[in-house]
Symmetry: C2
Subunit: 472 residues, 2 copies
């Protein structure tokens, strides 16, 4: 085949696959000559052939562009690359299972995110432009490892409302709470160390431990009042952990909240044993009642608590802005941030600083909390109606997750493909355990406005669970 | 002291320190009662006392605000927390030295960043709003671990202009090139592995190796033509490294570029020895001549090259958007991204996708390249005039760094505090070496428009170097 045809076919293939799309400019003839080692005549011939096939059009002095109707209408979906790679661990296998159920068409019963429509996206968009306009040029090009000072001050003011006096200089802005967690872990642990986590606990924490070569020590956790402190004390004596990672309020997945006296006792225990508490408090603003939940951080005596927050769940999904307070490890945490990612994306920081300054955050939070509480009530009612006898459901005072314990004999992992056929996703219990426990449990997302599709999905889930029990 | 006075004094202290500033709202009386366990009367008394002192003002139905003229005019600067923490390694010590010379008032001769005014910040700001407006709601709340498809397609089109056929699905958007580097390292190494790096090399790479428990094997590197491949082959036989991290074009700090035949030989060597090449190509777009430098990636036969790029140096400082191509490790790289940070900040991605689509990137790059080349010529001329005899200066074909080798006997670390006194920062040679070599060398930043202040700084640097030589 002549070389011009080879080139034309290759480009036609990219157009067919959607890698090149309507309006895209082809590389210039000069660029293509250089990059392929072809003569200009050959490249011109290839481009003219594509033009003759109706795939590209020449524009005077601007080169060649892909035609409006060339190629596939849809974006191509290649087979998931995950299938090529052998996962190393059980938690990764389970995680890939979960990923595969994250398709757009599915009702997000297993998702970790609330509905987009609950957030003030248009106001945030306006705040992006306004916030960036206010930056001085040096702020744009300089490394700002701790993050924008205006944003750190707004976060310090939120702490002050809880009675916590936090200096803006002690706050490190991170790429979401996930980076905050990782920076905290890296600051206080070395590979091989043991780390206490709740059981069940948020799967991303288990993955982070795996990634840093840390050993997860699972603490039995009550679905109403959180971690069992007696058990924790025994596990500390046995495993000498360096850190404890937990969510003290509206925990993911249980929704549990440690009562204030347990938060105080937790901090006292960990400070006495020299175990760093990494408190992941990303649902803090989502209390359904009028009063906020005080973080465990409020009870520290010796700076033993690292506190992580985020705007992803309460204000700005996709902006990926979280933060961490390092307690007595603050200097090391700051160095860790500098070495790990220099700084966080400036536009998102500027937008949040601008939005928080204008004072409408509280009104948004009131609406959001009411919506989440309402949706949770609706889902709890549907579960009461549709689940088999013997099922139990958590009763969180905040957040947007319900934890469903189906009767023994139900297998949540086996429900996953069936739910997918019925058009909804699920987050099965074993995802939330390093040992793969909680086989009969599911985390359910109440972060979306209730409607018939949700009622139908819950009814279908009940039927599927009963069918499993019938087959025992 | 009565409790209301204690509270008032505490708040007055925060106002004096700038933690609370003009216009900030104090926590509501109700919030403060709850958070401090005080009666409403006590809190009111405290607030009225602050009002009487002129520090706060009450606004009808909105609570109390810090008065316009209360507090310090300036943001408080606390002593750097770095001084509290014992650095663990020599490279950290050096790094902290460098940090301390990054003050705003200093002429940024040692900085790693070009001048803000060289970038189309206003157009990017407009692209932020426009790009976010075009997103569909599901794109905002969903996890998009690979990054926005529109942005990945634009990056694929840039590769195509170099003759590289890259599928958008194989690109992972990262939080700057620094995350790209770390994800690549984590994908192909385990703690304890050896990794080849150039000598000298960019200090952030040395820090990343330290952080992941990897051993840096330094490859002698020519200041014109890059890594010594014979030496590299010997080091591979000796140390069996798992990866090689290098900058193949316009390297930081030398400015060197491997000629195409050396890039081809490098890839052949590494693929034959099963050493992953992590190619950091963040200066790729900053070629001073008309023709781009082809990356080593273009010569791979077996997918052995991971290619990292960034918009931070050529388009959008502060946006923290980079990317990585995983080569044959693409599936593992994607999983690594998902587990490490879920996804990158959406507003920055949307803005860049929008900007790249509108087609003005090339015109911006032409202006930027011309400015950098011009500034580099001016600085080279000033160095020729002012440096002591026996000094040597690199002659890069791109980027914005010059590498200055002062005569033996000069000590660049000792120059640092003197330069600071004279009002400019420096990046001393030992920063760029795991062994602390290159004592007589400096990396100089030509990324700023030339002017008398720069001429003066270079002249002062020459005087300081001569003074060192005179004391030998």
């Amino acid at each position: 085949m002549p070389r011009y045809q080879q080139l034309a076919n290759e480009l036609a293939g990219m157009i067919a696959q959607g890698a090149l799309r309507a309006g895209d400019r082809l590389p210039s003839v000069r660029q293509t000559c250089q990059s392929r080692g072809l003569s200009a005549a050959t490249v011109f011939q290839a481009y003219r052939l594509l033009e003759a096939r109706g795939l590209v059009q020449a524009a005077a002095r601007s080169g060649y562009f892909v035609s409006a109707h060339a190629g596939s209408a849809q974006s191509p979906t290649r087979p998931s690359p995950a299938s090529d790679a052998a996962p190393h661990t059980i938690s990764e296998q389970i995680f890939e299972l979960l990923q595969s159920s994250r398709e757009r068409g599915l009702l997000p019963l297993g998702s970790a995110f609330p509905a987009t429509e609950l957030f003030p996206l248009e106001r945030l968009r306006l705040a992006l432009g306004a916030g960036m306009r206010k930056l001085e040029p040096w702020q744009i090009s300089a490394e700002l490892p701790l993050g924008l000072e205006t944003l750190r001050r707004q976060i310090a003011l939120r702490y002050l409302r809880l009675g916590l006096r936090v200096a803006p200089e002690d706050i490190v802005i991170t790429n979401g709470a996930l980076e905050a967690l990782q920076l905290c872990l890296q600051t206080v642990t070395r590979p091989g160390d043991a780390v206490l986590v709740e059981s069940p606990c948020f799967y991303a924490a288990l993955q982070a431990l795996e990634r840093f070569g840390l050993k997860a020590i699972e603490v039995p956790t009550d679905r109403a009042e959180g971690a069992d402190l007696q058990a924790m004390a025994r596990l500390i004596a046995q495993h000498r952990p360096r850190a404890c990672w937990l969510m003290s309020s509206f925990q993911n997945p249980l929704g549990c909240t440690l009562p204030p006296h347990k938060k105080r006792a937790l901090v006292a225990l960990l400070e006495a044993e020299d175990v760093a508490l990494i408190e992941d408090d990303v649902y803090a603003e989502l209390h359904h009642g009028a009063d906020p939940a005080l973080p465990a951080k409020a009870f520290e005596q010796r700076g033993g608590v690292m506190h992580c927050g985020s705007f992803s769940k309460c204000l700005a999904p996709g902006y990926r802005i979280g933060w961490a307070l390092g307690g007595r490890w603050a200097p090391q945490l700051q160095r860790s941030k500098l070495m790990s990612s220099l700084s966080s994306s400036l536009p998102a920081q500027a937008a949040l600083a601008e939005y928080l300054q204008d004072g409408s955050f509280d009104a948004h939070l009131r609406r959001l909390r009411e919506a989440l509480a309402r949706q949770m009530r609706r889902m709890a009612a549907a579960l009461a109606q549709h689940m088999p006898a013997g099922s139990r459901v958590s009763e969180p005072a905040g957040g947007y997750f319900l934890w469903l314990e189906l009767p023994d004999g139900c297998d949540s992992l086996a429900l996953l493909p069936r739910a997918r056929e019925q058009g909804f996703s699920l987050a099965p219990g074993p995802l939330f355990s390093a040992q793969g426990e909680f086989a009969a449990c599911l985390r359910l997302n109440c972060g979306h406005p209730w409607g018939p599709a949700w009622e139908t999905a819950i009814a279908a889930l009940g039927d599927m669970a009963r069918a499993q029990l019938a087959q025992r």
